[in-house]
Symmetry: C2
Subunit: 314 residues, 2 copies
């Protein structure tokens, strides 16, 4: 019997409801998720590696201005874009992560280069940009990251001490309480799994704030023995809960299934800490799962055993 | 019966051997450890909180030029000092961490301010320095962080592509293969536990490299239900192994004792990944433990039930 393969992606969680999402927007999100999902699925169907599939999916979402990552990243307090991303290969436990970079078109691509060529796991700030330039990663001018919608979000709160998780504002896209991040997890034909996550963080963030997305074990984790996980939500709480690795440990040490473990971490541990958000996961048999404690999560999955689902509401 | 209280500290692990450590240096290290240990113990004996005890111990080690943290931090590729630290309160799961800050006299103090007052968990770079200034944290001129020994370490390799884990060089202090970081874990009279870690990272590090020390779950973790852990070693591997939280999960999900869990993580998981280093731990009953897979680790522990030990070799 051939190993089944699968891909799951997310584009953020939060108060995503039918009432607050116009038909046009529903269609735009659906299209964006579908495009990323199918690009990654094609790689898996063509005997490609899980690590390649998650990178491809995340790059597609980074390039889509609808999602808070790459091109669609929110503005910081200083009116710039500081991007975070991570990637992990479950076959080797290799990992790469980057925090607080500017002008990098696809932060997940930089995370992969860090994993493969830096001798390190986690680079940050100007140093990470230096490494990106050395590796010849595609850079982009500030204008590339400009969108009127993100700018308006920022203008509305920049003179305050407030910051907001993406999609938390009562504004054009999505209206209320959505926590912006994108991510992907995949299992390939060889039973290798991988995870990747990318984000622009919180609108009006300051002080070089780093959330959970680039933190291995918190926002991103992959291990062939257990699971590949990508999270989205209130990053501070996901860090304190070491959310992604908690799922892995529940599987490794308590024998939970992927879905049981994710439900335990999201619906009990994170909820008890008032940690809003969600996560997606795969295991090395190609099983897929998602869990969230918010009203919705942009999400999609597709697997070789016939699963094909795109959803955003509960 | 009164709850027993305890403190454990470390000043780095590596190829620390009697042969490579002069009598004078042994005495200097012993004194440095003793001073930090006793300052923290006095707080606990006076009904102080674990979080206060670990901060006090780490600040004492940061102020001691022998250890690679705070004042004794190594030089980066650019000839500066970039400091990382984290602190976590096991009673509340609150955490604070900072990466890549310059000119902050006691990075662990900044980590605590981040935990208490920033609304975030993890700040980095210039933004973290801005926050330090806002909070009135003590800053120090570059000269404060200068030591001839660290400078010579750096000069020897700055024009190469090499970087080194602290104490890895065949130089004055310690000679060979020591992995520099300082840390403390404590259990107070009320059964609350805490952990803190601080480091200058690797000599000649570049690209804004972040190791495991400031990563919650990797180099630092505390949870009253399980353990408080502070790690030292090859940070990249400790991140990939999510080392500190792995110990916690082995206790929570498999019922291991503190020492069993730490041995499993250090002697099996980390060793299998060629991850040199060690860790210290306490649980909420005041039990203490350390584990390392290197030739030595600067370490000390003291508890209200009579344990008092300062050691550096195997």
């Amino acid at each position: 019997m051939q190993q089944s393969f699968s891909i799951v992606i997310h584009g953020g969680a939060g108060a995503i409801t039918q009432k607050n999402t116009s038909a046009d927007l529903q269609q735009a999100y659906t299209q964006g998720l579908q495009q990323a999902l199918n690009a990654a699925y094609a790689i898996l169907a063509n005997n490609g590696a899980a690590i390649q599939a998650v990178k491809t999916a995340v790059m597609a979402l980074e390039d889509n201005v609808l999602f808070n990552a790459g091109r669609g990243a929110v503005f910081t307090k200083k009116g710039i874009h500081e991007l975070d991303a991570a990637i992990m290969n479950g076959a080797t436990l290799q990992a790469g992560a980057v925090a607080g970079v500017r002008n990098v078109r696809n932060p997940v691509e930089l995370a992969e280069q860090i994993m493969l060529y830096s001798g390190h796991v986690f680079l940050s700030g100007q140093g990470a940009i230096d490494f990106a330039m050395k590796q010849g990663i595609a850079l982009a001018h500030d204008d590339y990251f400009f969108s009127q919608y993100r700018y308006d979000q920022w203008i509305a709160i920049r003179d305050s001490e407030f910051y907001q998780l993406d999609h938390k504002a009562d504004t054009l896209v999505g209206r209320d309480k959505k926590l912006g991040t994108v991510g992907a997890v995949a299992c390939d034909m060889h039973g290798n799994i991988a995870a990747a996550t990318s984000t622009g963080g919180m609108t009006n963030k300051k002080y070089g704030r780093i959330g959970d997305s680039p933190i291995i074990g918190c926002g991103t984790y992959a291990n062939n023995q257990t699971c590949a996980i990508s999270c989205t939500g209130h990053g501070e709480i996901f860090i304190r809960a070491v959310a992604a690795y908690d799922v892995s440990c529940l599987m490794e040490y308590k024998g939970y299934t992927l879905q049981q473990a994710m439900d335990e971490t999201v619906k009990h541990k994170l909820t008890n800490l008032s940690g809003d958000g969600g996560m997606i996961g795969v295991d090395a048999k190609g099983n897929t799962a998602w869990a969230f404690n918010t009203l919705g999560m942009y999400r999609a999955k597709r697997s070789s055993n016939g699963i094909y689902e795109i959803a955003m509401f509960t």
